[in-house]
Symmetry: C2
Subunit: 416 residues, 2 copies
Amino acid sequence: MNCEILCVGTELLLGSTVNTNAAELSDLLAGLGVNVFWHTVVGDNPGRLAEAVAIARKRADLIVTTGGLGPTYDDLTKNVLAHAFGREMEYHPEEADFLKRWFAKNTAVPFTENNLQQAYLPERCTVFHNDWGTAPGCAFEQDGVRVIMLPGPPNECIPMFRHCAVPYIKSLSGDVILSHQIRVFGKGESAVEDQLRARMEHMENPSLATYAKVGEMLLRVTAKAHTEAEAEKMCAPVVEMVQRELGSAVYGVDVDSLEALCLTLLKEKGLTFATAESLTGGLIGERFTALPGASAVYRGGAVTYCNDVKAAMLGVEPAILEEKGAVSYETAAAMARGARVAAGADLALSATGLAGPDGDGVHPVGTVFVGLADAERVWVRQLKLGTRRARVRQLAANHAFDMLRRYLQGLPIEQI
Amino acid sequence: MNCEILCVGTELLLGSTVNTNAAELSDLLAGLGVNVFWHTVVGDNPGRLAEAVAIARKRADLIVTTGGLGPTYDDLTKNVLAHAFGREMEYHPEEADFLKRWFAKNTAVPFTENNLQQAYLPERCTVFHNDWGTAPGCAFEQDGVRVIMLPGPPNECIPMFRHCAVPYIKSLSGDVILSHQIRVFGKGESAVEDQLRARMEHMENPSLATYAKVGEMLLRVTAKAHTEAEAEKMCAPVVEMVQRELGSAVYGVDVDSLEALCLTLLKEKGLTFATAESLTGGLIGERFTALPGASAVYRGGAVTYCNDVKAAMLGVEPAILEEKGAVSYETAAAMARGARVAAGADLALSATGLAGPDGDGVHPVGTVFVGLADAERVWVRQLKLGTRRARVRQLAANHAFDMLRRYLQGLPIEQI
């Protein structure tokens, strides 16, 4: 089944609202074996909406709309779709009663007649009652095209899709799409493409695709079959092939990020860690603590943006800073050791370097030293991460987490 | 000028990537007086992309594409667009040289030939050199339709639009479109709209529009005139009116963010600051040090994710932590005082609270205390920031920077 998601709302075209519905619905539809081939966004404009529907029904056999089901004059989706597919609007008294009850219960404002507009739906449709708001959604089939209409607010759109649209679609489609994400750090997208192209080009089902992320990349293996077990069986050898080809550059399958993997591994091993950040200014701690449950293994650390704070908070000897400089193997090592002790952790990560735009007259911008310390040893990676401040900082954090996951996975730590 | 944003990338249709480019570009185009009437997303599929281009060129006179400019075999945008508009591809040796230099400088991986694909662009186009990545963008006009092609990664797409596409678009219209951004913190969008609606409704040129951002909002004043001076004259009274109406909730005009304003003000006054972060885990330091030149005023601080680190690194008395708890007015105050001393700074910011999903059994999730200390005094804001972890953390950081900018602007600090 080929699907177009048609989102209606001027707020999306003004950029004041990011279209998260399209992404989340696409993800959910993929899991149902539906091919989403198009996203279209139009404003609350009947003419342009009608044109968009005319285009969509020609190329898609499932049209999922979001938005424009509400009570105000610019909520046009139902009427435009009904007219496009030659259907009258039908009044649903049970929805009208629900709306009146909802208003009495949830608002101080009096019930106004325009709210009854929400009780009208295209005739002969499957009604999706809205347990998360007021405007009902619906689904119908006409001339071989399926139409599903959902409300715009994500906290209504997504639950209604899960609870009403998913059962509706499952009753239509036989196939299951299943995919696995293989996460890679330390190899560029084009290098991986070169390595795997011969194999990738001829793959249809299962398919293998590469995606560049900031400072890392992922490969997605996707299989379509009649059952989940079958699709699983088709994916497995491809996942194994990629892991064999790319070796320890593959840091995980179906994990969210380097830091998420570190959190899992630290919990498994019952280890804690701390951070000592110079050029990253808190980014390593921030990225890790963005993960729910981080407090189980992360104790904290120091952001030492100037030398005397490195000495004061981490006990980095002024001699090291004077002789070797703040951007040095020795300082990165001392910062990691110091953070471990100061925060009373099993392990510590450190990062010092030049994010730019200004250099220190000694090293080029992008020179970074990333350190990892445990009770016995310290490891340091020396890196050249380019000249773009934001990228240098993100990559430095990636390298810190990569050293940590390699430590926890029992792999060589210093080299990439 | 009527515009369609055409985003190319299977990752968008699989839902693995949210289409933030479309929203941000729409926002920026609105500021240029361009009407964005359509967003379209297609995958890395030449046939469907060609069809989408055929539709777009019929209804829009500006087509802005994102994605598909990279080195891999599924990067098809340039070739499909060039073919659609009857143009050959042209090799740009200077871009090829740049690519080779970039690889030598920024990556450990060897330069592979497929990267040279990025040096080919449709003939007779305006080249947008990519200072933020590798793949260049471009712009051309054919049969009354303007085409602008941008890379997919937001950290390349958006800067290239600002620095290359904006001047290109400005050069197309005889009129000057000038806009000012008024940044507001501590007032919701609907409250601001209620306050300004009567005035906003009748404004055409200059126009006044509101945009909700994460934890803050901005108003854009836009004027269209024959000269920049004229447009300036039209905007000025509107900017003044908004500042008068919203008072100290307006933190700046044409400033990038709360932290960018803080950096400017700290430099002006020759003051330094430090941070003590619990629930934000480094976010305050990270956001500030993302700004070039941060080292002039930011000394560093501590990330104290557990209690004994609060005591060890910031000298927070265990008595306070036992009696009042880590999430308390007193702890926030002690953290700020401690960070000021430990980092030897003039001022310090602190944040402690519950980002969720787990509570502490005492306070509800979203309870946050944000502190600011100078040599004499300490101020603390108690906040209820909802239940969404990422949002709670961002808002806590916003409040910290808001307290700092209010201190530096000589405004009341604790209340919002």
